[in-house]
Symmetry: C2
Subunit: 443 residues, 2 copies
Amino acid sequence: MSSKNILIIGAGRSSSSLIKYLLDESVKHNWHVTVGDMSLEMAKQKVKNHPNGNAILFDINNENQRNTQISNADIVVSMLPAFMHMSVANDCVRLKKHLVTASYVSKEMAALDADAKNAGIVLLNEMGLDPGIDHMSAMQIIDKLKAEGADITSFKSYCGGLVAPESNDNPWGYKFSWNPRNVILAGQGTAMYIENGKYKYIPYNRLFTQTEKIYIENYGYFEGYANRDSLSYRSAYGLENIDTMLRGTLRMPGYCSAWNVFVKLGWTDDTYKIENSHKMTFAQLLEAFLLESNQSLKKRLADFMNLSEDSEEIKKIEWLEIFTDKKIKTENGTPAQILQELLEEKWLLKKEDKDMIVMQHLFEYVSKGKKHLITSSLVAKGEDQTYTAMAKTVGLPAAIAVKMILLNKLDLEGVKIPTEKNIYEPILDELKLFGINFIENHC
Amino acid sequence: MSSKNILIIGAGRSSSSLIKYLLDESVKHNWHVTVGDMSLEMAKQKVKNHPNGNAILFDINNENQRNTQISNADIVVSMLPAFMHMSVANDCVRLKKHLVTASYVSKEMAALDADAKNAGIVLLNEMGLDPGIDHMSAMQIIDKLKAEGADITSFKSYCGGLVAPESNDNPWGYKFSWNPRNVILAGQGTAMYIENGKYKYIPYNRLFTQTEKIYIENYGYFEGYANRDSLSYRSAYGLENIDTMLRGTLRMPGYCSAWNVFVKLGWTDDTYKIENSHKMTFAQLLEAFLLESNQSLKKRLADFMNLSEDSEEIKKIEWLEIFTDKKIKTENGTPAQILQELLEEKWLLKKEDKDMIVMQHLFEYVSKGKKHLITSSLVAKGEDQTYTAMAKTVGLPAAIAVKMILLNKLDLEGVKIPTEKNIYEPILDELKLFGINFIENHC
């Protein structure tokens, strides 16, 4: 059995399950796993002195190091932020090494398709949760329905990274299990989808007021708001003529209408700086966004939103200590940065907390003249702060793909995403062993 | 008397009064005026075969032509869109020629200050209406009050390019006298100002709901909404410690709350394209932005805005034929482009129409322990479709500055704006001869 080298770039929160899986597998397959991060400490924490593992300080901007490390590898996994993949992807093409990422295919990545094919390697992207498990689990149903001759008329798909009910001790029902900044900026731009054959557009200023109730057995109701561009998924999923297609994000009930207060106030804006924000309190910042008046800030904010002072929305806002003399630390920050400072404290996933991933697909289709519904739902909970549900669902699909490529069980070339049966079927099967399992309801 | 050459680049709507003034003056001063535009026809229309004038086809991207024409000139006026000034400005520095523009000083322009000083030339910017006449008329009052030892506590300044009352025959009280695109996108971003010593921020999503009433003698009330960054004007005007500083835009009463319908709908968004917009009607586009229902579009839009169907806002929207099967022509356009298509037809300044510029400064100051108010107001009407109020107020300040520079009456070097007495005083004096005259009220 020939030895193989795996290079994992990025050892942050989302990489823990990926690294553990590949180290666990390395023993029987005689693999060596190098984990590189700009924090050597972080890489070491993840490798845990595993005999087949090696933690290194890795500087993505160091061309020599990139060249040496990628040359030594048989396959590379980039868990870097999406915008940092391209130098790695270019090196992989040049050095003829496979690459796996959990990020959306960017235009630059897509443009490498022919070069990757010429090099005889695969650039396999969107191998995480969303994108990743969403594609695979949806395509499994879509391909099955198509094979049966069914006509799929509607497909809605929601996903949320939330806190498990047993760890939910705040009125928002939300804690950060991934990049807080992305949560603050979520939904900016215009959501676009198609419903009953008609285009639908929801601008950001009312995105969080237009939610759909989603029911998940044993977990109750969630609320979903539409994601930016659902239209492009029609072609990705081979559903060009579908009447209804919507992708959305799940939150606990009540979250969206309270979050809408920040949207309307303008506190999610990341495009300009608040002069001298570090000399202000949160109450003073709020004051700067409200009309002058002698009434209390709470009353003025409630009036501004056409809410009562004892509404659930205002209670959620009050719980964040926004009406108080709590000092802002961020210097000359954007409103979004200042809100992030506050929420990182308030929505901290504590040591004993478990996170939870919830995903639901809702299909409507016509078969033999009859209308049918399928809901397919996934709930995955984290084990602890390291092996979170987010880390498992983002990392394991990529990890399994790496294994399959190294074992020559996946024969792929060019730029790919996991919408093909030969990719999604074995990966979804193996994910079940880790409790990542969709429950289908038909009616 | 030595002959001088003036090069004017850009012969669009805003250049007519500028060109006429300089051609008129050219006779007694022995000047030659070259007018270049990418449309030779447009340049010819403005030069009108004047013996001292010359219309040429001018391609701003043609380096050789730029070099030849600027070399031949003693002074250059660029009436191009602001983002196109820099190649001209760089040539002017290199060839040691003065430059006048009516645009805001960009960072790139500001960076040429030392080079312009070394070359012994002036790059005189913001010589139009807003920016231009606003600076000059404000600084005249500010300098006077400071000289009297007064403490200026509040300065608000509003300006609007509107339609004259006698030509106002539509419910919006608005017609395009300048770039329609800028009107559609106006106010995007967050307005920031200072009021009673406190920072104030108004996000775009409610900018048009927070208006101030402005009264102008003989013309009645207007409504003003805040412009983007009023804070930066504190240092520009030497009012670093002022308690209240706000700059805003004027519209006819009722315009803003009706325009807010488009803001809330998302129809001023220029960041994404509506797929197949050219196959849609305006009613269908509206449908795409509203929730599903069996009620009429008009009723649904009214409900969406919490307005009654017979409200003034909905009447204004209805007058635009948005509830009808009127076809959209723009192919895959952004919402803002599609709205512009409609408004360019509806808000067309007709041949016999006159436009109107309205500006008002409101000062509060304390002198000898007493509080005082000054309002200083300008109303300027166009003569016709060519010599509009917009063309006069934008073009004449630049034109007068050109004259003064050529007659050695302005000794300036480097990058300048007209906030200095030696610039604004003679120009404001001469503008009075053209009916551009501020009326002051003190109390």
